[in-house]
Amino acid sequence: MDTKLNVLIVDDYKTMLRIIRNLLKQLEFDNVEEASDGQEALSKLRTGNFGLVISDWNMAPMTGLDLLKEVRADARLKDTPFIMITAESKTENVVAAKQAGVSNYIVKPFNAETLRGKIEKVLGHA
């Protein structure tokens, strides 16, 4: 697993950004940037070079699902691994995310082992 790649984490709760950043640090990912909603994330993705996106769903003004659709519609970004970490656990949400091209889906509250497993799976197939 390439832990040197740049990771963008997206969540409107600063505490959750901090928790995910610290868990990623334990997994030896040191190049982590943050965004507080989909729009800010898209702007960072278009100007930066990220190898993994980890995003919440429920954010304004742009949700995680809408961010995912934008990423998959962008020729340069479309292959970027994208993990959704969200409290949205309904089947219809998972199906919508999968249809939009999500790489993996983690439901909150989650544990570090789940995060590690999903990242390894996604980057292994990236």
């Binding site: 969540d11 709760y13 600063k14 505490t15 959750m16 901090r18 928790i19 610290n22 868990l23 334990q26 989909g38 769903w57 429920n58 742009m62 949700t63 995680g64 699902l65 809408d66 961010l67 659709k69 969200t86 409290a87 949205e88 656990s89 309904k90 089947t91 219809e92 949400n93 998972v94 199906v95 919508a96 999968k98 993996n104 889906y105 983690i106 439901v107 909150k108 509250p109 989650f110 544990n111 570090a112 789940t114």
Partner: protein, 191 residues
């Protein structure tokens, strides 16, 4: 039908009907009159009851106070969570000074604290849903007390909302939520 709110319109209608009744009443007319009088009394009673409830307090005092309290809960739990995270980061910085076994044990303990601290995100989202419900109640109470007029349409998702916004309804209650294992099975079914 005269202008005005529905209770006034009902009273006016009752008076208009009574005005058409003259001379000896038939049994049917007497029954109708009885029904109309009962209706008038019911409207008057409802108006008195609503006035006695001081429902304006709900919008002017109770709901704003409740939402302020809930906002304070979110703020205080966020502050407390960040203090816990500060302490965890300090502990992590000490890991390099410990022998391998103790450093690993400390690392595991800190990870468990990080995992537990994610409660703040979930509770924050749940409280936001409660605040949204209180605001919907506030809006409907205002409509009822303002004019007895038509209630606003039930608050729902904007028709122009994106798919992401329409599906943003979490967190689900534990009894309705899918587990990570359920979600993994669902994802695997696409492969």
């Amino acid at each position: 039908m005269p202008d005005g709110n529905p209770p006034d319109q009902i009273e006016a209608a009752v008076r208009a009907v009574l005005g058409t009744l003259s001379g000896d009443l038939t049994v049917t007319e007497a029954a109708l009159l009885g029904e109309l009088e009962a209706l008038g009394r019911e409207v008057k009673r409802a108006k008195s009851e609503i006035a006695a409830l001081s429902v304006e307090d709900i919008n002017e005092s109770h709901i704003p106070a409740a939402t302020d309290e809930l906002d304070a809960v979110v703020e205080h739990t966020a502050t407390a969570t960040n203090e816990i995270l500060d302490a965890c980061e300090t502990l992590e910085s000490l890991q390099s000074k410990l022998d391998e076994g103790n450093a690993q044990a400390l690392g595991h303990a800190v990870t468990r604290i990080y995992e537990a601290c994610s409660f703040q995100d979930i509770t924050g989202q749940r409280i936001a849903k409660v605040v949204s419900a209180l605001k919907a109640i506030e809006s409907r109470v205002a409509a009822v007390t303002g004019s007895f007029g038509s209630l606003p349409a039930a608050m729902g998702k904007n028709a122009d909302a994106t798919e992401g916004e329409k599906l943003a309804n979490g967190p689900q209650l534990p009894t309705n939520a899918s587990s990570q294992a359920d979600i993994d099975k669902l994802l695997a079914s696409f492969d």
